[in-house]
Subunit: 486 residues, 2 copies
């Protein structure tokens, strides 16, 4: 089957208006360039189905074409906001981008069961809003929530800022609808909290980045809205103190601790430098003559009342200050202040981009080992890359650091990135392995890390993954070259 | 390779004392008869390795023997307390029981990371105790905890009484060590809360009942111990009221709600009849002339104080009584009373056994649909099986009911079981499907439900499962005939 025959078939499935071809009048950049702008590929076509049945028919058509030797493959795409170049086509021109964006309906909201069933193309922010409007909380929350889709969140098992309480996207999902590599529809849209009838297919597709099948729908958990939410911004003498504060907060607040983000002073200083209108608390303030190296944002969600939340929070901070884990802290007095404090944390990636190119990491380490990991790795980086600056921040409650490396002050940043990235990556990832961590905590593998993965994952795990991929997608047609090479 | 050659090899791996053969002097009943006494199989041998390396060597030896045509296969076994005949050998005499009981060490307890790493053969109660001794809570809790092992809990994704807050065993696990069907060791003992480096192998082995590989170790989550724990026993006008009470409790107590068990009046009356020393509250008490049909046990775990827990609990019960969800309630005044109230709930299965044989179900339904499901199914059963009595109780917070059917009063119970079980099962399971539920919420499939599963699961799901099984265990050597027939 030729490409033109395939394209005709696809047009007959989704309608000619929804098979987009790159041309002088039709710039497909939003579909073919990755979010961070690292790579731009070439799509054979962008196909935009509006139902699960259409997705299945598209996959069947591609499978038939592939069987006839066309070499076509499929790249599923949601909001195209991924960080690891996993949802854009390669340069071959043989890949179909299958965009789920037109599938964006809430199928069912069941308050009594605490669940919402959605099309995969629903934008995360709209899902949050739909739940809120019905009196529920949908806790998944991340920077790209205005664009990313729930299908993409599931495909990459997205993390975000509420994981310390609610888990990753995986933990929020009860059931999936998936189109397999054969174009069959698996209707696994369960609203059940317990179902032990065989293998956990759901979790196999979650986080597989579209390499085993295409997620077309999902049933997700909702939670009761909290009665009050408080934010504190605390300055700490060390990363060890941050780990101690985390434990104390978990003991006192239990599941009320819904956010725990750590930020290094250099990361915060970049926010102060590039966004001076944001008044960063304690910036440059010395305690006993020394500028404290870390700050933490804590979020306390309370089911009872604002008064109760405040009393709880004050008790925690007092105890933490007495124990020396916290040097000083501010607690937001109202919603506006709370948003401002969160906004400082959220502005770090932008401030970092303003400062120039940098080498990004998304690593996780057992929480208890983080202080030692940072001590040792900081020292090794300083030795091997003199002057390199560390933009260290992240979700300490989950053991997840964005441990990013910025060129020395005044250095040519592009050159630093080009010449030093492999060395910096190797050093950081080797240390991550020594501390039994992960080289991708929440962003996934995509094509960006696909060649690195075999160096940092056991051969037995790689072989198990390869066996699963070959079994479920024997044509290697689903997002090939991502996650694992077969 | 003959069986005798294989047995010699196994003796050389684990030592002759740990290859047990049935004989007049050596009754292997504890290994070859299932927990509920439904079936007794014949083991070629019971092999008791004491290390992961020994497990791997045993699997390799069996795989080689199997390749040479012996037809040997492996049944992994922990405490042998499963409910679905999944951990005992069949009658063929060609199956090795691989007992993990000698692998029972705590490998590491990491308080700062909130994790404990264990051999698979650790008995659940010992795990709870080890965590408690270190100042932590291990929340998994079930009837057989004095005998069952953490490996068995993982293999079957066990549920229990704390799922409403902490999830199933799956949700408590961060990493696994597994011996594959090829006898390779996958060391996936992660203590990470976030790790997006490829397919979710962990969750594939969890709940697979030993059919894809043998779990030899695990890293599990621990939680802070609560400051106080309160128990209430409430009597309700209907199952609809129970669902409303659940929602109210989740709103007020949030994650403080650690248990929510429902019990029908007939189930409670059996406890009253067979264990009269247990004073069941509200038994036979009429409210407005009618005996209320359901009671609920609620458990509130509080991180703050007993006083706070009491205030919270009273507020909840007052609001529930005002709304008519609760007719009356008792709150345990001390630990002894609390244990007594829980003990009533835990005594239902025993009371039921005292009353005679019965047809057991372990079903789940979306929580919001439970009242309607029970209404409709009760009526259908009454029509088709006049006089049959319903022992209905379970984990309402998870949508999981043990909806058991007892013979009519005075009927021959063995005859009822023999003649009516297929019809009762078919009726109940068909209704479960109509309400989008599961025919096995927490017990698994084993061999007991393996033939039923294809009737109640979609062909696409069955085919995905079969494909995975064939790919990972091409010799069909790992617990064959359980979960799925290939």
């Amino acid at each position: 089957m030729s490409f033109s025959t395939l394209l005709q078939t696809l047009q007959s499935i989704v309608g000619p208006a929804h098979v987009l071809i790159e041309s002088a009048d039709n710039d497909l950049v939003q579909y073919v360039r990755d979010w961070r702008g690292r790579e731009r590929g070439v799509a054979l076509a962008v196909v935009r189905p509006n139902s699960t049945e259409q997705v299945a028919a598209v996959v069947k058509a591609c499978a038939a074409s592939n069987k006839a030797g066309s070499g076509v493959s499929i790249v599923p795409q949601g909001g195209n906001t991924g960080m690891v170049v996993g949802s854009t086509p390669d340069a071959s021109g043989t890949q179909i981008v299958l965009s789920l964006q037109r599938m964006n309906n809430v199928r069912k909201l069941d308050g009594g069961n605490g669940t919402i069933t959605l099309d995969a193309g629903c934008v995360l922010q709209n899902v949050q809003q739909a739940c809120f409007d019905a009196g529920y909380l949908f806790p998944l929350s991340l920077g790209s929530q205005g664009s990313c889709t729930i299908g993409g969140n599931l495909g990459t098992n997205a993390g975000g800022t509420q994981v310390v309480r609610f888990g990753n996207t995986r933990e929020l999902c009860l059931g999936l609808e998936v189109v397999t590599a054969q174009g069959e529809i698996w209707s696994g849209l369960s609203g059940l909290r317990k179902d032990n009838t065989g293998y956990d297919l759901r979790d196999l597709f979650i986080g597989a980045e579209g390499t085993l099948g295409i997620i077309t729908g999902a049933t997700m958990k909702m939670y009761p809205l909290p009665a009050a939410k408080l934010i504190a911004f605390a300055v700490l003498p060390s990363l060890d103190a941050a780990v101690s504060l985390l434990q104390l907060a978990q003991k006192h607040l239990s599941a009320g601790l819904t956010g725990f983000e750590v930020m290094g002073q250099f990361a915060l200083s970049l926010v102060g430098k590039h966004f001076p209108q944001q008044r960063v608390p304690f910036l440059g303030t010395a305690f006993s003559g020394v500028v404290a190296p870390y700050c933490v944002v804590l979020e306390n969600s309370d089911q009872e009342s604002e008064a109760h939340a405040k009393a709880q929070f004050e008790r925690l901070l007092e105890e933490a200050m007495e124990a020396g884990h916290v040097l000083d802290a501010v607690v937001a007095e109202n919603m506006t202040q709370a948003k401002q404090l969160w906004h400082i944390r959220e502005s770090i990636p932008l401030a970092q981009a303003q400062e120039g190119l940098n080498i990004k990491h998304d690593i996780s380490i057992p929480v208890s080992s983080i202080p030692e990991f940072v001590r040792v790795t900081d020292a090794k980086l300083a030795e091997s890359f003199p002057g390199a600056r560390l933009v260290n921040y992240g979700h300490l409650g989950d053991g997840n650091l964005h441990y990013n490396v910025q060129a020395p002050e005044g250095a040519d940043q592009a050159e630093f990135l080009e010449t030093q990235e492999p060395g910096v990556n190797a050093l950081v990832f080797d240390m991550v392995m020594q501390f039994q961590g992960s080289i991708s905590a929440e962003h996934g593998i995509g094509s960006l890390k696909v060649e690195k993965l075999p160096h940092y994952k056991s051969p037995v795990a790689m072989e198990l993954m390869r066996t699963i991929k070959r079994a479920l997608d024997p044509q290697n047609m689903m997002n090939p070259g991502r996650v694992i090479e077969v």
